[in-house]
Symmetry: C2
Subunit: 211 residues, 2 copies
């Protein structure tokens, strides 16, 4: 089972590594990081580089495709090598997954037309501009498509997907090995529970994510 | 504020990227990944490479030190360049933090002697072999030392540490931007809630983490 995780400049690191660190422990999983060029790819902050082991053209038939989000997603919404790769690998994938604003890339590629999907709360409404049906859930399954809400939701998505792929017991064992028993020290993880002033301040950054 | 995150062969990726993706968004934060040699460092699975931007000798006075876990930690428990670097930077740090079995490295370096600390549930008891006091909490603060439980606990640790460094409002804004409102699809994140057979199976892997 080949799992291809897309990288592009200015991706969000946790969007990638949350799902990676779950799915890479599935029995028989072989993960490959894919980018326009092989080699180091820089994240949105500029201080983290993950190495892409393959170019887009080298990964043509992955079983599972994971598309992360991050402000860099904006550069690939229009027709181009990344969008064409997403379309090409989706034609044969068993599962096509996204985290955060990665679902905007799936939608822009025409894969979510008429389908319910989620994204980062800040840009979820933009899914409708590309034909998808925005849903305010943390993880949305629709056929072979699974979309996650913002950044850390990629972990919840990955455990749910791991269960679908390999069964509940395998997913539960990975969860225990990762001690995924979250205890956030604040209740500020969504705009309904966050202090109002903080939600407004984060909302003001929307323009940096969708143009 | 310089934040140094240690890398070594066979680290656990989420131990690193969970805290990174929180702490790198602190105002004035400059994150540097440090390893024995600069360049790509491979994780425990073998398919992920994070790039170290600096060698140990190049990072001498970070304000915050983060030591991740992973099976590769075993190779650095005895005296050597990594342990000496941990001791040297700890002498001047404002905060010294660990995730997962990273606390065993701090303890082996003599930094946690007589201090309460936590670690991955699977190896937490081994802290006592190195003079620390094992505590079954997700995040343990003691003076300038903060230790997290297994893998994903690095996220909870990082939000708590972000609050101590920059105040609650900053930490809450980062939490909202990361949509950290976890909804694990299974209740298998700790050995008390996981199905017994699954806990036993994970327990059997202990020998691969501590020798």
């Amino acid at each position: 089972m080949q799992i291809a995780i897309l990288l592009y400049d200015r991706f969000t690191a946790l969007d990638v590594v949350g799902p990676y660190d779950v799915l890479s422990h599935l029995p028989g999983a072989e993960v490959v990081f894919v980018a326009e060029q092989p080699g180091p790819v820089v994240n949105e902050v500029g201080s983290l580089h993950l190495v892409a082991g393959a170019a887009l053209a080298d990964v043509t038939r992955p079983d599972v495709v994971v598309v992360p989000g991050g402000p860099g997603q904006n550069a690939h919404m229009a027709d181009g090598p990344v969008r064409r790769w997403i379309q090409a690998v989706d034609a044969h994938s068993t599962w096509t997954a996204s985290v955060c604003s990665g679902s905007l890339l799936l939608a822009a590629a025409g894969l979510l037309t008429g389908r319910p999907a989620t994204s980062h709360w800040l840009v979820r409404d933009a899914l409708a501009d590309h034909g998808a049906i925005p849903i305010a859930d943390r993880v949305v399954f629709n056929g072979k498509y699974v979309t996650a809400a913002g950044v850390s939701a990629g972990l919840d998505m990955a455990f749910a997907l791991a269960g679908r792929i390999a069964g509940d017991a395998v997913a539960q064992a990975i969860q225990l090995a990762h001690e995924y028993d979250p205890r956030p020290p604040y209740r500020s993880g969504n705009p309904d529970t966050a202090p109002r002033a903080i939600a407004d301040a984060v909302l003001a950054r929307r323009a940096s994510i969708v143009s």
